[in-house]
């Protein structure tokens, strides 16, 4: 299969970015919107064509999907270690191309309506293109080093987009928080890459992932603190993935990131960037699975399961609809991680891996739809808060229906997309780890509950007094909603197991009826509860809130998680690991120098005395420095 044309897929958005970014003052807003949409349409068309060619025409040899690589050596770092740049086409990268293209295109179209009249319109489309370029680069990367470069670029564009409303101080601080928290996680990623380069001698995915290759076979030979170095490297790399995919405890940036424009939340913080962590684990799946009997993979499973549960509980209590969606995203990402974590490798054993990718795919569609729907609502009522919404079904029929479809999809009601993928995840969990399976089922119920809580709250419930009469959004916004709604219905029928498996040999997946019935039942149960609580906005929910008293309060304060964070960062960890963790500090959210802030400046101030401005002090330190070094090292050396 000839894949040379695929290089255009990332390059077109890059060209658009350069064009719009360097001429942001000159190009008229209306035109920049068209340029953005047009450029992306071409990329999207190429992506779909690639997917068609790969999956249905050319990709298979003897029933095994081949990996096509087009690369060249970029830098010879040492005699043995070199860095390549290129394009890797295999099932998951092609699938990601489709996801990124679809969602990004919808968001581009939607933004033309949503951002209309905004003074930074051109700048916005430039950033969107930069992001799309980086995301394409990330999914097509052939090696760890390349993926890391685009990984950081994605972070930069996310930073710019979250902070887009720079007149809002909260947006600016959220942008910085997101960047620095994920960058802190990348600290692990980077060290993981270093270790991998040194011990595995290669950054190349093909070399690393080869189940018969030397890395996997000999990976466990050098050990460090009870684990092999390769396992350490994988865990460190997973730390980077956990940061991007908002896994506990590195999730704290995601809810704040909702300060960005809603289309951005849909694109970056729901469908694409946040799944990069899941993608990374999937990309290195053979290593995770084979090295030391999948020790690292187990960690992935438990971190995923815990995050799924944790976030779902918090989502129930949030009052800002975008924050509900943010925690919901975190929860669903946890689902994908746990699915990878419980997956096997050969044949039907690989159902977890397949399910994870399947869920990534369907989730991208319905979560983007939820966000865009939420954006449409926010556009109409000019508020993010549930308390300002209600009875909107009358005014916004399209948004209502599409939002409902997405909510049914995420709740796992057949025949919507989420049902199929979630079912596969639960099957995988059931077969490999019962404990995780129960968590998964419970989370499914919670998901249905919180999602319908906001659905009923927004579209039904008591009608609020609106300053301006709400109205349906313009076509440019509703068309993407309808397209995504359609996809949220049909995406579930794609036979994923024939396309995407760890060993690249398709198998036929069957619906496991008892498990599917249980999951659906739990989902419906959740919807039913939400209906009782919120449909008619009676006092029942308050009654229950009272009955559960402290627990409700506790959950509503996010388990005091921020406070605990504050305590630990300020009192304990600061002195050990200093600034990076202190940046998680609550005060930092205020976007000022505080946060890392206060304490670091305190240290800074304490040592300020040394920098007195007096030369005699400097001379003293200079001489003492030399003397102390001399004493210490000569003493050490002679002993």
């Amino acid at each position: 299969m000839n894949i040379s044309y695929t290089v255009l897929i990332p390059l077109i958005p890059l060209a658009v970015f350069l064009l719009l970014g360097l001429n942001s003052q000159k190009i008229k807003p209306a035109i920049s919107g068209y340029i953005g949409v047009l450029g992306l349409s071409v990329s999207a068309a190429l992506s779909f064509y690639t997917a068609y060619q790969y999956f249905l025409v050319d990709g298979k040899v003897d029933d095994v999907y081949q990996t096509f690589v087009n690369k060249s050596v970029w830098m010879n770092f040492t005699e043995t270690l070199h860095i390549d740049i290129g394009i890797l086409i295999d099932p998951i990268s092609v699938m990601m191309l489709v996801v990124v293209s679809t969602v990004s295109l919808m968001v581009h179209i939607y933004s033309r309506g949503y951002m209309k009249g905004d003074e930074g319109y051109t700048r916005f489309f430039a950033y969107l293109s930069l992001f799309t370029f980086s995301m394409y680069g990330l999914v097509l990367a052939t090696n760890l080093f390349q993926i890391y470069i685009f990984w950081e670029l994605v972070g930069v564009s996310s930073f710019l987009l979250i902070g887009y409303y720079y007149t809002k101080p909260s947006a600016v601080s959220a942008a910085k928080k997101a960047f620095i928290v994920t960058r802190f996680a990348d600290l692990g990623f980077l060290i993981g890459i270093l270790i991998m380069g040194y011990y595995a001698g290669s950054y190349d995915f093909e070399t690393l992932n080869n189940p018969e290759g030397s890395v996997i076979l000999n990976g466990a030979s050098t050990s460090f603190m009870g684990l092999s170095v390769i396992t350490w490297a994988l865990l460190l790399i997973f730390m980077g993935g956990a940061g991007k995919s908002a896994m506990f405890p590195l999730h704290i940036w995601l809810p704040d990131a909702m300060e960005g424009p809603t289309p951005v939340s849909a694109l970056i913080h729901a469908a694409t960037m946040v799944v990069a962590g899941v993608f990374l684990v999937a990309r290195l799946f053979p290593m995770f699975y084979f090295v030391e009997n999948g020790f690292a993979l187990n960690i992935v499973a438990y971190v995923g399961a815990f995050s799924a549960l944790f976030a779902a509980i918090i989502a129930i209590t949030q009052t800002d609809i975008k924050r509900v969606l943010a925690f919901s995203t975190m929860s669903q990402l946890g689902y994908m991680m746990l699915a990878l974590g419980v997956s096997g490798y050969d044949g039907h054993e690989g159902v977890g891996y397949m399910a994870s990718m399947f869920h990534l795919f369907t989730h991208a569609m319905f979560k983007a739809l939820l966000f865009l729907g939420a954006g449409s609502v926010i556009h109409a009522v000019h508020s993010n808060y549930l308390k300002d919404m209600g009875g909107l079904y009358k005014y916004m029929p399209i948004t209502n229906i599409t939002f409902l479809i997405a909510a049914l999809a995420i709740a796992g009601v057949p025949p919507f997309a989420g049902f199929w993928s979630k079912d596969e995840i639960l099957v995988a969990a059931f077969e490999h780890n019962k404990f995780i399976y129960y968590i998964g089922v419970f989370v499914a119920g919670l998901t249905a509950f919180y999602m319908f809580r906001i659905y009923f709250g927004i579209f039904w419930g008591k009608e609020k007094t609106y300053e301006h009469k709400p109205h349906e959004s313009p076509l440019s916004m509703t068309i993407p909603l309808m397209v995504l709604a359609l996809l949220s219905v049909v995406a579930g029928f794609i036979p994923f197991s024939e396309f995407i498996t760890p060993d690249k040999v398709g198998f036929e997946a069957h619906l496991n009826y008892p498990l599917a019935a249980i999951a659906t039942g739990v989902g419906l149960f959740g919807i039913f509860f939400a209906w009782i609580f919120y449909k008619n906005e009676n006092s029942l929910s308050d009654t229950y809130a009272k009955a559960f008293g402290p627990f409700y309060k506790w959950a509503s304060d996010k388990f005091y998680f921020d406070e605990i964070y504050l305590f630990i960062t300020k009192k304990i960890i600061f002195n050990l690991i200093s600034a990076p963790i202190a940046k998680f500090d609550k005060k930092y959210v205020d976007g000022t120098m505080e946060g890392i802030g206060n304490k670091t400046i305190l240290i800074s101030n304490k040592i300020k005395g040394i920098q007195s401005g007096k030369f005699q002090d400097y001379a003293f330190s200079f001489v003492m420095g030399a003397v102390i070094i001399a004493l210490v090292f000569i003493y050490l050396w002679t002993n």
Partner: protein
């Protein structure tokens, strides 16, 4: 002695000629035409830079006092390019503020003399030549730091610098005398064979090291840095932080890897401790700086800490990564200083909050600044990332995992304060935003070259291969 051995020293001679020509021009030009000195100096130095690119053979002269090879030659070229960019960036400042006071020529003469000192320092084959070069490179800078005589803070910077420098070179000379006492020679080649880990040798080495550590601003020999950078004219601060530091790193590397190779088991520990202290102190101080010059001063201290990571390897990989990193650092820091210079010249503003909303009024300057800061912070795919990554890999390949980990933590801290500036420029608005202004041609060129440098170093890989090849000279 034949003609061709003169060619070994041609760069020194050309530079000396330029200095003399400028002296003549200063005397002969009427006052009304003094402005053209700036053009003349830039033109002449441009020639020097270009001539520098012609290859030079490996040889030594004056009985081994002066020697040169491809690597040393390359170092000089790096310094040349740096100084040339610096001249472009300073041209407007000189024309507008300095030449009228009849001091323009002095600036060039002092600057070039200092550079000449660096040439000799890098090419030195014995400690005498090294020391002469060191002094020649340092003393003129004291005069340069105090160049804006009407400003109290500038004079203060000059005084502080010369006192610190005198102390440092005194200590260093004391160390050299001990090395002479134990080995009986000042020639590098002799010392390599004679050196042994006796107490006196070690003491000599440490004192000598302190002198160079002063020039690189390593903790605890760094105190002068912030005060001098803040007080000195921006061009001079830029020179100190980029050229002067770069030259000192080069010579330190040469000496550690050759003369003191047998003491490696000692100096690697010293470097370890100093590197950690430098990174942490530099970063912690940088966090709370509001003045851009002080900010860059501390950030450049922290950057020096990263460079030391490469020194610990003592092998070809280390050499190559250090050179690569220093080159990236030269371009990135010059870009940052250039923007600060341009803004300070037009508006007199030097504080971080003056930069708020800069992107909306001066998008191009902000983009240059962002590129420079991202490079310094090590965000891919900007060149600085590769520089840091290679340094870390080099250190990790020698097993210094803890050090690499702490260095990566420091990278994260540094990201925070670099982002402060980016945030001020891009994500903030201000009523008093610096209004739009146009830069003159020289400044534009000066910034353009740095941008090209950052991009090319990051994306054009054969350069690294070339550096790696060259690094064989040392090991």
């Amino acid at each position: 002695m034949n003609f061709s051995s003169f060619l070994l020293m041609r760069q020194e001679m050309i530079l000396l000629t330029i200095i003399l020509l400028l002296l003549v021009a200063e005397i002969s030009l009427p006052k009304a035409k003094k402005q053209s000195i700036v053009h003349l100096a830039i033109f002449l130095f441009g020639i020097n830079t270009i001539v520098g690119f012609f290859a030079i053979e490996t040889s030594s002269w004056f009985g081994g006092m002066f020697h040169t090879n491809g690597l040393i030659h390359f170092f000089k070229n790096v310094l040349n390019v740096g100084v040339f960019i610096l001249l472009l960036q300073s041209a407007d400042w000189l024309q507008e503020k300095i030449v009228d006071n009849n001091k323009g020529t002095e600036f060039f003469i002092l600057l070039f003399s200092s550079l000449l000192g660096m040439y000799f320092m890098i090419s030195a084959g014995d400690f005498l030549m090294f020391y002469l070069g060191l002094e020649l490179s340092t003393l003129p800078v004291a005069a340069l730091a105090a160049f804006e005589v009407t400003k109290r803070i500038s004079s203060e910077a000059g005084i502080k610098f010369i006192l610190s420098a005198a102390l440092a070179s005194g200590v260093s000379l004391f160390g050299i005398s001990m090395l002479y006492a134990t080995s009986g020679s000042i020639y590098f080649d002799d010392i390599i064979t004679m050196i042994a880990s006796t107490n006196l040798t070690l003491l000599g080495f440490i004192l000598f090291f302190a002198g160079l550590a002063f020039k690189i601003s390593l903790v605890p020999f760094h105190f002068w840095t912030a005060d001098v950078y803040e007080g000195a004219p921006i061009s001079v601060a830029s020179y100190l932080s980029v050229i002067s530091k770069g030259a000192a790193v080069f010579i330190l590397m040469i000496l550690l890897f050759t003369v003191f190779k047998n003491l490696m088991h000692v100096w690697e520990n010293i470097i370890y401790v100093v590197a950690l202290a430098t990174m942490f102190i530099g970063n912690l101080f940088a966090l709370r700086q509001q003045n851009m010059k002080r900010f860059l001063a501390f950030s450049s201290i922290a950057q020096a800490g990263f460079i030391l990571l490469g020194l610990m390897t003592g092998n070809q990989l280390g050499t190559a990564t250090i050179i690569y990193f220093v080159m990236i650092y030269v371009f990135s820091n010059l870009a940052a200083f250039g923007v600060v210079q341009a803004i300070s010249l037009k508006t007199g503003k030097e504080n971080m909050n003056d930069y708020e909303g800069l992107y909306r009024t001066n998008p191009n300057l902000s983009l240059v600044m962002m590129l420079a800061l991202f490079s310094l912070a090590g965000i891919p795919p900007v060149a600085g990332f590769f520089g840091k990554f290679f340094l870390f890999t080099a250190a990790a390949s020698k097993g210094y995992y803890l050090l690499v980990f702490l260095a990566v933590v420091n990278v994260t801290i540094s990201l925070y304060y670099y982002l402060l500036v980016v945030r001020a420029m891009f994500l903030r608005t201000s009523d008093q935003a610096i209004p739009y202004f146009k830069n003159k041609l020289y400044m534009k060129l000066g910034l353009l070259v740095t941008v090209i440098g950052i991009l090319v170093l990051g994306l054009y890989s054969p350069l690294y291969d070339y550096i790696f090849e060259l690094s064989k000279h040392l090991n």
